[in-house]
């Protein structure tokens, strides 16, 4: 890693948005490989994720890290002329959505971002997701983990219903299901029949790691 590369990782990881964007632009102008720039951003995200898990960073930093990743991605991606020489590694897959009846998505979006920067291929299917859509998406995307999100108490029944439908459709085998949201606890995990529950994004990442042998 040369000096500029190291500096870019540090600037992103330390939340120095303006300087990070300027340096990324400068490196791209100087002909640095845009794929390498994206790789450096991933390395910075690793650091951000660890600092979040250690209680050093909180939501403002996670959100800003996501913004920086998007902005640098916006600069680098149009310049990509060739595909990476590296073989594509299949990442463990996680499907996530807010259950039907519930329109909340702040928590879900944060979990999605944390899973993404922790090496999962995450498909976010939005809010107020009907049971049938979960079933279709599980069949098409073939995730190892399904995350059901919900903030309201009405989500308890929606989660239970979704999990029962997944079972009834014969899709539960080999699949780990976790639930999460403001009101979720062990009682609701047992009530819904989920495999695990999480109170925050770190719980979601840990559950997904364990469930996918990570």
């Amino acid at each position: 890693m040369n000096d500029n590369e190291k500096r870019l990782v540090d600037l992103v990881a330390d939340m120095d948005e303006d300087l990070a964007l300027a340096l990324a632009q400068e490196m791209l102008d100087n002909g640095d490989d845009p794929l390498r720039i994206l790789e450096l951003c991933r390395e910075a995200m690793d650091i951000v994720g660890k600092r979040f898990e250690n209680g050093e960073y909180f939501l403002p930093e996670l959100i800003l890290a996501g913004e920086m990743l998007d902005q640098i991605g916006g600069l680098a991606k149009p310049l990509i002329k060739h595909s990476s020489d590296k073989p594509v590694v299949a990442l463990p897959r996680v499907l996530i959505g807010t259950v039907h009846g519930d329109l909340h998505d702040i928590g879900k979006n944060i979990v999605t971002f944390m899973l993404d920067i922790n090496g999962f291929e995450v498909k976010d299917i939005g809010i107020d997701v009907p049971v049938a859509v979960f079933l279709e998406e599980i069949k098409a995307f073939k995730p190892q983990v399904v995350c059901l999100s919900g903030f309201l108490t009405l989500a308890f029944d929606s989660m239970k219903e979704t999990i029962q439908a997944i079972e009834a459709a014969g899709l539960r085998e080999g699949l780990k299901i976790q639930i999460g949201g403001g009101q979720i606890d062990e009682t609701i995990r047992a009530f819904t029949g989920a495999d695990g529950y999480g109170l925050n994004a770190v719980d979601a990442v840990n559950f997904s790691r364990i469930s996918t042998g990570g």
Binding site: M15, E17, E56, G101, Q183, D185, T187
Partner: protein, 414 residues
Amino acid sequence: MTENSGAARYAEKMKRVMDAVELRQPDRVPVAFQATFWLARYGGISYRELMYNYDKACEIARRALIEFDPDLFYPVHATTLGPLSEAIGFKQIEWPGHGVGDNQPFQYIDREYMTADEYDDFIFDPTGFYLEKYLPRIASAFEGINELPKFAGLYYHQLVANMRHFANPGLVRSLAALQKTAEEALKFAQSRIEFHAEITALGFPLTHGTITNAPFDYLGDYFRGAKGILTDMRRRPDKLLEAMEKARVLLMRHALSAAKATGNNFVFIPIHWAPDSFMSDDQFKTFWWPQFRKMLIEMIENGLIPVCLWEAVCTKRLETIADIPPGKAVYWFERTDLVRAKEVLGNIVCLRGNVSPSLMTTGTPEEVDASCRHLIETVGKDGGFILDGAFGIPDETPLENVRAMYQSVRKYNA
């Protein structure tokens, strides 16, 4: 309910509640009744009907109060906002009959209602910003209100001549829509005033007369949205702090005048952005607590009783938020362990809560009874405690579990 005159019952309940607030041992642990759409289930109607039918809502609430005999009750009109939201064309919530199913609660739509580059407009002239930008964004009846003359800066002949703006078609439409909204708002207010008078006469004190928010939550929830406010903490901290200082003054002005108008000293403050996992301790002590503490002190100095509902888990905040005068407020914790809260705050503030929603909705009456007993005997020890759900009564709670909760305060004592 015991045979008792309304006035005597009211005095007895208020004494019980004030004993708890002022950290004395009451005759028994007081219990609050905060139900929203649970009332629809209790009354056998849809959430939508509750949202639209003032009389029905009042009738069900009256029945519930008489059955459960709580020491404080939450204003039922918080869930009868359908006609008024319809009239004003409210865009910040989806409600039963409008955007969500007939048996789903209303839900707030988290969006950016003020962009980052509008901070200066808000700080310079909040009222101007409301009229020009904010109000048309959040309610369709205000679309066109931005065609008003820009009064400030107009004077003498210019002011007179600029009155022509009142003929602008958009403004004419907006004023007509607002007048129609006002007609509905008067019906709403009338129903609320009559109901509160009736219930007060029956002997039940109201949980609060008005609501306010912490400056951070006001700007985060209702203006910048979650993503906006969180990035502002990093990208434009000075603007955020300046806007919060302005907002604090405005929020206080409203809280004081509304409390005075209702004659009820309790001010309800739902708190969204304080949880442990949202921001660091340093961030909490920079962006959240100092501004809010000023509000608490000002309310207390004006004889009001702040009732703060600390959502989610706020265990790491307990030492910080202990910095208020003793016996002057209520801290209602949603998921913070009340036993731990009692250790830190027991000599400072009355605690309220927090039978878990999972237990209320999926547990048995015996389990609810045991949970209430535990809270009464541990958190209620030596006074300073009001029993309640973690966030009132969850909509899906079986009737027997609600009964178990309200019976518990009569069975167990601290």
